[in-house]
Symmetry: C2
Subunit: 300 residues, 2 copies
């Protein structure tokens, strides 16, 4: 079988172009420019790269972008920055880049963000709306996964979806998203994790598998059925002495072997990864629209 | 096989006695009496009975109880009653009895309740905490189901749990509760619903089935495996001309037939039903404790 390769890069470009169009329309019709703010604490190089990419993508979409960089900060410093951005009318969406240093409570910081600006969708209020079937800001990775399925014609409706992993940023929100009675959802969802027994019996029944456990090449070909659709959220570094940087990136799926049985599969890199920034921009545009039309919030 | 009958009535009495003890201790040590308020709108006779039962149970547990009854009310009337109770220091827990009349938005009313007093656990903020694995107020029915499993030694950890139904008050919260990495949870959870295909194949793999779909005697013996544990949340009226009132109550499970194959099963009535008020009281005591010790909220 020749699997469809679901590529995130062109799809993310498509979504970013749609967002840019929405931004241009909002600017010309209403004179409003959606604004995205990112708070970056500490000097983790990977976080710095992620934040720069978000900043650049927001600019490219025609948005206002603000980055608050704090090399060292107390929890109160971060809370104070969040409060200022909550009150800033030019900023419609904001996020605090995670992880935060150990001395700062991520929960307290996330809960201090105005839920109407929480474009990461991590505030408990927004997680609750997602669980209740009225999502306002779907976290970027789950939102991207849903788009990848729907835009390639692999609608999850009526399908057995198996989610590997129960993190708060991927596993639990994608499960809650896909089990809802709504378009692009309506799946029969099973969530598996470290305590799951006979995992391969569960995965072999899956029409769609979403792997988000952070174990390199964990999902093998003998764990899936023919015609499965596989979304690989993993990004794992493995040693690769032949490469100049000494490592390469692989997903949670044994890609080459699973691809032989799959109807469709996402590569790593170039799969889910590029979708996340596109979905963040999409959420920011939505935040600006909800700011303009607060009554729409009740329908979300 | 002789199934264990998991009876809710004595277990609920046990929990209510534990709560009464906690209330007495709080009163004697700290001079604080936990207070529960219920807002009842309209003249639905069933709702009136439920509210009276909650009021009586709160009194029996030694709590302060207040019921705000409004035969007719605008949405603003209800919101105003909620605001007053939010501000009332004697009231630690409150709920608005559902369903509300059609002209009142249940979502707006629920979101107006102070999340720290939301003992029904229906505010999106509290649903989000539940989803994130930091439950503060678990909705009464899911909380009761978990207690029934744990207190009878049928710990869901590592088990395949199949939830039938995806309502916001039972299906989705019990799924989110049991999939967490925590005591009394750690299950591999599958949520089934109207769009699920080959449902009986899914239910036959289940170690524990939680039926909450509102279809009388839907789950048949040939849909379950030997040794299954069945929690029946359904309460359905079916015609029973031989009875004086003309109907009888049955669950979502074909009780007598399924009991022959099950390791344990809850009856209807006398199963999950009695647990809900006990869990409401338990949440109210917890609300009073969190009010006294706000720092504990961050650990919840």
């Amino acid at each position: 079988m020749s699997a469809t390769i679901i590529r995130g890069t062109p799809m993310a470009e498509e979504i970013r172009a749609e967002v840019a169009e929405g931004v241009a329309e909002m600017r010309s019709k209403h004179g409003i420019v959606p604004g995205l703010a990112v708070v970056l604490v500490g000097d983790d190089p990977a976080s710095a790269v992620y934040v720069r990419n978000k900043e650049r993508a927001a600019m490219e979409a025609g948005m206002v972008s603000e980055v608050v960089r704090m090399s060292t900060a107390t929890e109160e410093d971060v809370l104070s920055a969040v409060r200022r951005l909550n009150a800033d009318a030019r900023i419609h969406g904001m996020l605090v880049q995670l992880p935060l240093p150990d001395h700062i409570s991520e929960n307290r910081v996330i809960e201090s963000v105005n839920p109407n600006k929480d474009v990461d969708g991590l505030h408990p209020f927004n997680m609750g709306l997602l669980m209740a079937g009225r999502p306002r800001f779907v976290p970027a990775t789950p939102g991207g996964i849903q788009q990848m399925l729907v835009r390639t014609g692999f609608d999850p409706s009526g399908k057995n979806v198996v989610v590997l992993g129960r993190s708060n940023i991927v596993g639990k929100p994608i499960a809650n998203l896909l089990m809802q009675r709504s378009d692009g959802a309506n799946a029969t969802v099973t969530v598996c994790h470290t305590r799951t027994r006979n995992l391969e019996e569960v995965t072999r029944e899956a029409d769609i598998i979403i792997a988000a456990i952070g174990q390199p090449r964990y999902l093998k070909a003998d764990m899936v059925k023919d015609g499965v659709v596989v979304i690989d959220v993993g990004i794992n570094q493995i040693d690769a002495p032949e490469r100049r940087r000494g490592y390469r990136l692989v997903g949670d799926v044994d890609y080459h072997a699973v691809r032989e049985k799959a109807a469709a599969i996402t590569p790593v890199p170039g799969g889910v990864g590029p979708m996340t920034i596109a979905m963040l921009l999409s959420n920011t545009l939505k935040a600006a629209r909800l700011h303009m039309h607060p009554h729409l919030r009740d329908e979300s």
